[in-house]
Symmetry: C2
Subunit: 356 residues, 2 copies
């Protein structure tokens, strides 16, 4: 690997290394002649100059140094389980893809660190002290203990997705309340009035927030507020008197649409609904989720949870923090959008008459 350095370029052009450096680390106080600047850039490009990360990090690590580099950020994936090969979380990958994309624009790269038990925090500590990262993105259940650890190591950090810490932190998340509202709006705009809500659970914050948003928007969009239309599948597995399908059939009058905020729920129930004879076959299904694998559920209308956008914005925010910029708003929310998939349509005319 032939390494081209700043001093090579300087020698080539008969300039000093300081001038070359000034081109690659623009300092507002130093103003190079545009002509010189241009010459340096072309020569650097021609010679294939790439700044050496390790050298820069090392030089900048000098004590009492305020300037920082930003070419390596760490993504901490917090998980509950210990097993190294447990549950694969697609949301995590969507966030990573967004973050990596944005970081690559900033000429930085993303290091992935999975933290499942307290022992794994050593990895984070080591990497920090080894000077391996310039900041952290966090995804997973970030509680106060996690935040305390992060604070201690002095690097900037941004929390992505749901968080469960009480102290204020910089964070980026999907606007889950808006997800629920959008669901109510979309179905109402198609003319539905009786809409069932099938939650996969109520354990996680996003599940409760989506429900809140839905409930808040229900009335103003003219949806029936009958609470019997709500059900929580996770609570159900325990009692188990009916199947989800039987529950839907037992509602009277029958709903013309169902909102299933969780993609997994919709994926497993929708094929069954389509197979059934009668009214349920025509029921509209609306779900949520982030870019599902090709071929799985493309026919579902869904509210897109823009997780990759969360990653992008998180990277940008971290960059601003690392550069020492003042950032006021601590919490950033990304709006969801609707993706037509064909599983929602107006209620069939006979039905809409009945339910009015």
């Amino acid at each position: 690997m032939e390494v081209v350095t700043q001093s090579h370029i300087a020698r080539e052009l008969g300039l000093s290394q300081s001038s070359v450096k000034a081109v690659f680390n623009p300092d507002p106080r130093i103003r190079l002649r545009p002509e010189t600047r241009r010459r340096i850039l072309t020569t650097a490009h021609k010679m294939g100059y790439v700044p050496h990360h390790a050298a820069r990090r090392l030089a900048r690590s000098r004590r009492h140094n305020k300037s920082t580099s930003f070419d390596q950020v760490g993504l901490i994936h917090l998980t509950q389980s210990d097993a190294r090969d447990s549950f694969v979380d697609p949301v995590c990958l969507a966030i990573m893809q967004g973050a990596e994309y944005e970081l690559s624009q900033l000429h930085a790269s993303l290091t992935f660190v999975r933290v499942s038990g307290s022992g794994d925090w050593d990895k984070v500590e080591r990497l920090t002290r080894a000077g391996g990262v310039d900041g952290w993105l966090i995804y997973g259940p970030a509680n106060d203990g996690v935040v305390d650890r992060l604070k201690r190591n002095k690097l900037p950090y941004v929390i992505l997705g749901d968080r469960s810490c009480t102290q204020p932190v910089y964070s980026v998340n999907v606007d889950n309340e808006a997800v629920g509202r959008l669901g109510a709006q979309h179905l109402a705009s198609l003319g539905h009035r009786r809409v069932a809500y099938m939650a996969g659970g109520m354990r996680f914050l996003f599940q409760r927030q989506i429900l809140d948003g839905y409930r808040n928007a229900r009335k103003e969009n003219g949806l029936d507020e009958d609470e019997r239309l709500f059900s929580d599948l996770s609570a159900w597995k325990v009692t188990g008197v009916k199947t989800p399908i039987e529950w839907l059939q037992s509602l009277d009058p029958m709903p013309t649409a169902v909102f299933m905020p969780e993609l997994g729920v919709a994926l497993s129930l929708q094929p069954v609904l389509k197979q059934l004879p009668g009214e349920l076959k025509a029921i509209s299904v609306l779900t949520c989720g982030c870019a599902p694998p090709d071929g799985i559920g493309p026919q579902l209308t869904r509210i897109d949870l823009p997780m990759s956008e969360v990653g992008c914005q998180g990277a940008l925010l971290l960059h601003r923090l690392a550069s020492g910029a003042r950032v006021e708003s601590a919490e950033m929310k990304i709006s969801p959008s609707l993706i037509e998939g064909g599983s929602t349509r107006p209620p069939s005319s006979s039905k809409s008459e009945t339910t009015q």
Copy 2:
């Protein structure tokens, strides 16, 4: 961030920096007194010494240097699509988790790089020349063009998962042929004789390899070799005369089990099968896949595709290559295993009589 260096430790103990260094970079030629070694280690630990990655990389980057570091490896995720937020591939994350785990044991970390178009290879090139990475793991459709690029940058690399290049490379993959064989064995051992095979497609290598394995093992395990029992769902969407369910019902005699190598296919069809009256309700379903999200399809018996193990072994192999060890076998295959989920059982007695 107070940085503790080797010379701090040396001064503290009244030794030379060389001795301290010898503890952290064991050199077979240099033999420290065990007593000294121990003192250095305890003091280093007490002072919280962590080797500074950037400094080490920089020092080792000296020209004509044969020794290499191994603390940063890159994972290239090759994708077809340009969009930064397209399709989320759970297999990629499973591989990453395995690789990250293994690398953390080696005190190395993993940098994620997504490469979708040829423009993205700049990122790889930059990172290589910036000295940011000691080797590459590759996941995705790695063809000869990809391998040529990798060769050019002189770093060791290992290809994970399916590959489509013709030249020999170091690679780690699941033994897909064994997956197919295991499927045939398992169903045969339960007493099934007529087993339908529903493929999600035949476009990818792993799909063809699983089928090959299945076909090879079918006869010796006593399964019916009727080719009408095979169907490819992707080919079907085009013709579309029947639904998959209708196709199953049309088989005569009806199969008592169905092997659906792709999890997505099984997830969408199984709920429908369970809902149906009659024989199809009792049909055994066997599928494949890597650790699906909790709550989705835990009730399915599946052949586990050990993708995280592929990541682990890939990291280990890369480490050996980077250390300059001689590695002979270029291609490594990881065996799959069966995970009971309750969706396979012996054929109901009446049926098994009929089909014999």
